[in-house]
């Protein structure tokens, strides 16, 4: 095998995998806080991309101002979704709550392009298009920048769990009733998790939107984010990192090596196969706690 070819596939795949991990991060945060898999994370990434485009291109704000604003807006959207929709579902069966998050995903996929238009929109973050060469291997600059940002955000999330708010979130995650009984405001902790998920989703939407343009297809990140979250372990932030890299590299290598043999189309199968195999063989993922059950 041509090692430079495989190396290039693996490197770019790893960087793309970090984008996936950023979407998976939102799923994990909400799972840790409320025990529910959030299936609206792809649409939240899409909304983040659209809001960034609206502020940076439509309203003409500079990127340094538009991006923090988007993150604030998306934090607010996450909190509002929790307060208005999810909190009403308290006490319902987890499957019902998961269906509600799926409903949010579908609704946002329809409504947001309806408001801003379904056509692809250019989101320019000023990232150069010239590639970087590592010997014979080409590294996509946009992927590199996105990968580094993802890495930083995932690292900050790990650190967050050492702060007071993070400890509260962990306590809620461990046992909501016990957390209540010691005076922790569980609703606030869950709302915080939704807010942060909005921010991480928006980051993924902005970064990927600058690569492919902004349109509804950003929401397709959901499947990739789910694959990463499930493989890493739904309650493990460090697991996300490993799983993101694995999923990204696997996708890229499979597409690069198998597509010419079978005639294409293998990339999107990888995430589905990973979800299937993980749930069948190791439902708690690579780093998840063993109590996770199949839903």
């Amino acid at each position: 095998m041509d090692m430079a070819f495989a190396g290039e596939l693996a490197l770019n795949g790893a960087l793309v995998g970090l984008f996936y991990a950023l979407v998976g991060l939102g799923i994990v945060l909400i799972y840790k806080a409320s025990g529910v898999a959030n299936l609206s994370q792809g649409a939240l990434a899409m909304v983040g991309g659209y809001v960034a485009w609206a502020l940076a291109t439509d309203a003409g704000l500079p990127a340094w101002l538009a991006i923090p604003l988007v993150l604030v807006v998306m934090f607010g959207l996450g909190v509002v979704l929790e307060r208005v929709v999810l909190r009403r579902m308290a006490g319902e069966a987890p499957i019902m709550i998961i269906m509600v998050t799926l409903g949010i995903e579908i609704m946002l996929r329809g409504v947001v392009p309806g408001i801003w238009g379904a056509d692809v929109k250019r989101l320019d973050l000023g990232i150069g298009q010239d590639p970087i060469f590592l010997g014979p291997m080409l590294i996509n600059t946009a992927y590199l920048v996105g990968g580094v940002v993802s890495l930083v955000l995932i690292g900050l999330s790990v650190l967050f769990f050492g702060t007071l708010h993070g400890i509260v979130l962990r306590a809620v995650s461990d046992d909501q009733i016990a957390a209540w009984s010691v005076g922790i405001r569980v609703e606030h902790a869950i709302a915080l998790a939704w807010g942060i998920s909005g921010v991480t989703a928006a980051s993924a939407g902005i970064l990927w939107g600058s690569v492919q343009g902004v349109d509804w297809t950003l929401s397709l990140f959901l499947v990739k984010g789910l694959a990463v979250a499930i493989l890493g372990g739904l309650d493990s932030v460090p697991g996300l990192l490993v799983a993101g890299l694995l999923v990204g590299i696997a996708e890229s290598l499979v597409a690069g090596l198998l597509d010419p043999v079978v005639g294409g189309g293998t990339r999107d199968i990888v995430a589905a196969v990973i979800i299937l195999l993980t749930v069948l063989i190791r439902p708690y993922g690579l780093f998840g706690r063993i109590h996770i059950e199949r839903v």
Binding site: D119, K121, L138
Partner: protein
């Protein structure tokens, strides 16, 4: 406020689109209204392609209606969204048939393919402009499926012909990469490319990417290592812009990169106007605001506030394609009413009218086009154009290429349809 206005505008557009082009026709005798069904993809894959194309179609009808229509009849556009889904396309088709549409222009290969049996059975004109199955060029087999435009086999043949001419010593022994969306649309040119590779002795490398094509890095790694002399990309919407961006990133020379009709100012805008300088496309309709019909639309429709969309999009490649194709449909109606002025016009009579269009160029917008009962493609001519950073500049005159090969394949495939119905 801006968002609310957009939301309200979107809702209103959905309600009003069906009657947007029927200027002054609401109270008119329904028999004197010729209805064109435009179920298209506004929300899934082809998004801005459709919005610009459809805007051009409706603006042209507004121009014709504003001038009093044709032969005592005015025109109405019935617009629906099928989201590029065959099932929704079939539902839209049935609804439009009930509403009296004489033509259906689905602007989607998967939807058009799904509609072929119904249109053939119903004797309802299925217009597969720049889309659909290429063997529909054979009018004797597909009397009610009418491309009216160079189908994908002719586009691919013309692109390869240009590359052959532009390469010193021709394509013999050279490498040509074909990067395409892995869908019926992307796969459509493969037979003609394979045949031309054999005929011209060049090496064809094929590189599919999964729909919608948001992530193509592994594909372009392979393309770069293939070291092609020429590259053809074949997609639309997100897949096309990502392909273009990846090609630029991977150092594929832009003046050695070409595509069919689906590349526009909007695509270049998304990727970067300067970064895409030099890219080539097959142009079946002149772009820009210079063609007379486009200038007329600007002065008689847009300037009066009757435009169907943003003025900035008037004159773009996709917009002009919509205008050109609608001009052909209206020309077909004119010929049908000239032969028999009785109203209402029927789909069968319109069919005869469209299939007798002769040497029509829409005042310079189109290559001279002649449709016959046998040739539904209209000659298959177009021209190559290059993006100069601000606009498409014609690199050749109108021409068609390898039509002997294309028609050999058309007849072979249409024969299969006659035998199997597929």
């Amino acid at each position: 406020m801006g968002i609310l206005a957009r939301a309200a505008g979107f809702a209103l557009a959905a309600v009003l689109a069906a009657s947007a082009a029927a200027t002054g026709s609401a109270a008119a005798n329904d028999d004197a209204v010729i209805k064109f069904g435009l179920p298209q993809d506004f929300t899934a894959v082809y998004t801005f392609v459709t919005s610009e194309y459809n805007q051009g179609q409706r603006d042209y009808l507004a121009l014709v209606n504003g001038r009093g229509g044709i032969g005592g009849a005015t025109f109405q556009a019935l617009v629906l969204d099928h989201g590029n889904q065959p099932q929704r396309g079939i539902e839209a088709y049935e609804r439009l048939k009930q509403q009296g549409a004489l033509t259906i222009d689905a602007l989607s290969t998967p939807v058009s393919r799904a509609l072929v049996p119904r249109a053939m059975a119903d004797h309802l004109n299925l217009l597969t402009t720049f889309s659909g199955r290429s063997d529909a060029a054979d009018g004797s087999t597909f009397p009610y499926v009418i491309p009216m435009s160079p189908m994908y086999w002719s586009q691919a043949a013309a692109v390869v012909s240009y590359m052959n001419t532009a390469t010193e010593g021709g394509l013999k022994g050279r490498k040509l990469a074909y990067v395409y969306i892995d869908s019926p649309f992307g796969r459509e040119p493969l037979p003609v490319l394979n045949a031309l590779a054999e005929e011209n002795s060049f090496e064809l490398g094929t590189f599919p990417y999964a729909s919608p094509g948001s992530e193509q890095s592994a594909v372009w790694t392979q393309v770069r290592r293939f070291q092609p002399d020429w590259t053809i990309i074949w997609g639309a919407g997100v897949g096309q812009t990502v392909a273009l961006r990846e090609a630029v990133r991977n150092g594929i020379p832009r003046d050695r990169l070409a595509t069919g009709v689906w590349l526009s100012e909007s695509d270049a805008e998304i990727v970067g106007r300067e970064q895409t300088k030099g890219v080539l496309k097959f142009e079946a309709v002149a772009s820009g605001r210079e063609p007379k019909i486009i200038a007329d639309i600007l002065s008689e429709v847009v300037a009066k506030g009757k435009g169907a969309g943003p003025e900035a999009k008037v004159g773009t490649a996709y917009y002009n394609m919509g205008v050109g194709m609608m001009a052909m449909m209206v020309e077909g109606a004119r010929l049908a009413l000239e032969a028999d002025p009785t109203l209402p016009l029927t789909a069968e009579r319109l069919n005869i009218g469209i299939r007798s269009i002769t040497d029509f160029n829409a005042e310079g917008l189109l290559p001279p086009t002649t449709l016959t009962r046998e040739d539904h493609q209209g000659g298959g001519a177009g021209r190559m154009a290059a993006w100069d950073g601000t606009r498409w500049v014609a690199k050749t005159d109108w021409f068609s290429a390898h039509q002997d090969l294309v028609w050999k394949m058309v007849r072979a495939e249409s024969e299969k349809y006659r035998q199997t119905g597929e």
